[in-house]
């Protein structure tokens, strides 16, 4: 069995006074795609933000590559090897594609390899070469998503977290995004995926969990969850 990359144990997270996550635990193994599915406002993004150090858990532990990262800064976590593509893509619209990518390699470990990494990534993302000097804000949503994923890969992460990568994209573009996720997986990148698009998210996932109002409702392999009658009833019918 592959070794553990990320181990989240009983985290409780608050937004001000309101509790957003209740005793959430899950584990991501090296090399797998782990999907977190659930409806809007269930706490999916909160999980990613907490793992990434943007929010601090009130209690619980987060271990990444064997060391505690709860309470670390995002910069330290990126440096350790986890990066995130935020919901809404998070590109700097007044910067060019190339500048966005360069900043993706801001941490010291990655900075030295900036040029090589851009070169390597342009094989998976041809848009890097064709739109290199275009302002990120002037591209379509699909193009921005590609650049956003590429930027997150600039830090050469072991764990890539994707927050709703299909949001607001046309079905054909969604397909391309998931093809890229599959390509990255084949290259050995571990992926933690948060999605409302359940078909795609479970289709690609080795394992997945369902989150419901801040609590993990179910964990299993992608196939198990996909064929689970409960999930069919709860999500598949409405979220096609």
């Amino acid at each position: 069995m592959a070794s553990l990359l990320l181990k989240v144990t009983d985290i409780n997270v608050f937004h001000g006074d309101a509790q957003a996550l209740w005793d959430v635990s899950f584990q991501v193994r090296e090399g797998e795609v782990f999907s977190i599915i659930g409806s809007n406002g269930a706490g999916k993004s909160t999980i990613l933000k907490t793992v990434h150090g943007l929010l601090s858990p009130a209690s619980g532990e987060i271990e990444f590559l064997g060391s505690r990262i709860d309470g670390s800064t995002p910069a330290a976590i990126v440096h350790l090897g986890a990066s995130i593509v935020p919901e809404g893509r998070g590109l700097f619209s007044t910067l060019t594609v190339e500048e966005n990518l360069e900043l993706g390699a801001f941490t010291k470990r990655a900075r030295a390899f900036t040029k090589e990494t851009i070169q390597e990534l342009s094989k998976i993302f041809p848009i890097i070469n064709t739109r290199r000097h275009q302002l990120a804000g002037k591209m379509s949503g699909g193009e921005q998503q590609m650049v956003a994923i590429a930027r997150a890969l600039m830090s050469r992460p072991k764990l890539l977290m994707l927050d709703e990568p299909s949001l607001g994209l046309a079905p054909l573009v969604v397909k391309t995004v998931f093809q890229i996720i599959a390509t990255l997986k084949a290259q050995g990148v571990t992926i933690l995926l948060v999605e409302q698009n359940i078909h795609q998210a479970l289709g690609i996932a080795d394992r997945a969990c369902v989150i419901k109002t801040g609590k993990i409702a179910m964990t299993g392999t992608g196939n198990e969850l996909r064929t689970d009658p409960e999930i069919h009833k709860a999500y598949m019918g409405t979220l096609r």
Binding site: A75, I77, V78, S83, T94, L95, F106, T107, S155
Partner: protein, 292 residues
């Protein structure tokens, strides 16, 4: 004759306005990254003017040569300002930081009044009143030098923001702090850099002020206001726009001072400030136009 005067006023305005522009660029960087309205900027400029004056009086160091010490010192002092005054409250929002900046302004003014007395100082060199004559127009040498310094300062900052990784990070933080944090940019580092550059530019503006104007400990506040007007004219987060905003303000002031009596010049510049904020709050040279 009249055309000559019009042109003469235009040149005076451009030469002097560039200094407002430099101060405005500093404000723009500090506001852009930290959302701090650093109202003490003008007072820091006056402090530098005193330093320049003192170096000249006591050690006979040429004011332009003193830039060699003043600019690096200002960069360091800027880092110190951030670490001491703002690091802890950088996240507290713009009101607490404005109060800190205001308190700092008052502290500096009173310190200067005690240390240097409140009498007006003016730096007199052999070339202070020298003027070049170009096509029948008189160009004050010290103002021309102030203009050149402003252009050089702007050029260096522009190059830094466009071509270095740290400069790009400054732009990224200015656009969206949360996204910048997410990709591993450390805000404190970028804030320190922005403050260093902002105060570094105040160093340049301080030398320019010392060589062109008579000043006292309280001259800084008006300078801060003028830089804010320049910033409003040029648009936030736009380096070249801020320089143009300063130049435009300088020109408006130059004409207003000539055609209207004394105090009306200031009335006009503040009125322009309000009108721009009311009707074109993104600035006359806003980013959309800049990126084309």
């Amino acid at each position: 004759m009249t055309i000559d005067i019009i042109l003469q006023l235009l040149i005076n305005g451009i030469l002097f306005g560039a200094m407002y522009g430099v101060a405005a660029i500093g404000l723009s960087l500090i506001y852009g990254t930290m959302k701090i309205v650093f109202i003490a900027q003008g007072t820091v400029i006056i402090l530098v003017a005193y330093a320049c004056f003192w170096l000249f009086q006591s050690y006979n160091i040429n004011p332009y040569l003193s830039l060699v010490f003043i600019v690096p010192a200002s960069l360091l002092v800027g880092m110190g300002f951030y670490q001491v005054l703002f690091r802890k409250v950088a996240k507290a929002g713009s009101f607490p930081t404005l109060i800190i900046a205001f308190g700092f302004l008052a502290l500096l003014e009173n310190f200067m009044a005690v240390a240097f007395t409140s009498t007006v100082k003016a730096l007199q060199t052999s070339y202070s009143s020298y003027a070049l004559t170009v096509l029948g127009l008189k160009i004050s040498f010290v103002r021309f030098m102030a203009f050149i310094m402003a252009l050089l300062g702007t050029g260096v900052v522009f190059f830094f923001l466009k071509n270095t990784l740290m400069g790009k990070a400054v732009r990224a933080v200015s656009e969206n702090l949360e996204y910048a944090t997410m990709i591993g940019i450390t805000p404190h580092l970028i804030n320190t850099i922005s403050f260093a550059i902002g105060i570094g530019l105040a160093g340049i503006a301080g030398v320019a002020t010392a060589t062109t104007y008579a000043f006292d400990p309280y001259s800084g506040f008006v300078f801060s206001l003028k830089s804010m007007i320049a910033l409003a004219l040029g648009g936030m987060g736009n380096v070249v726009g801020a320089l143009f905003g300063g130049i435009l303000l300088g020109v408006i002031e130059s004409y207003a001072a000539f055609f209207l009596t004394g105090g009306w010049a200031d009335v006009i510049s503040y009125a322009v400030f309000l009108l721009v904020l009311m009707f074109k709050s993104e600035g006359l040279f806003s980013r959309e136009a800049d990126t084309k």
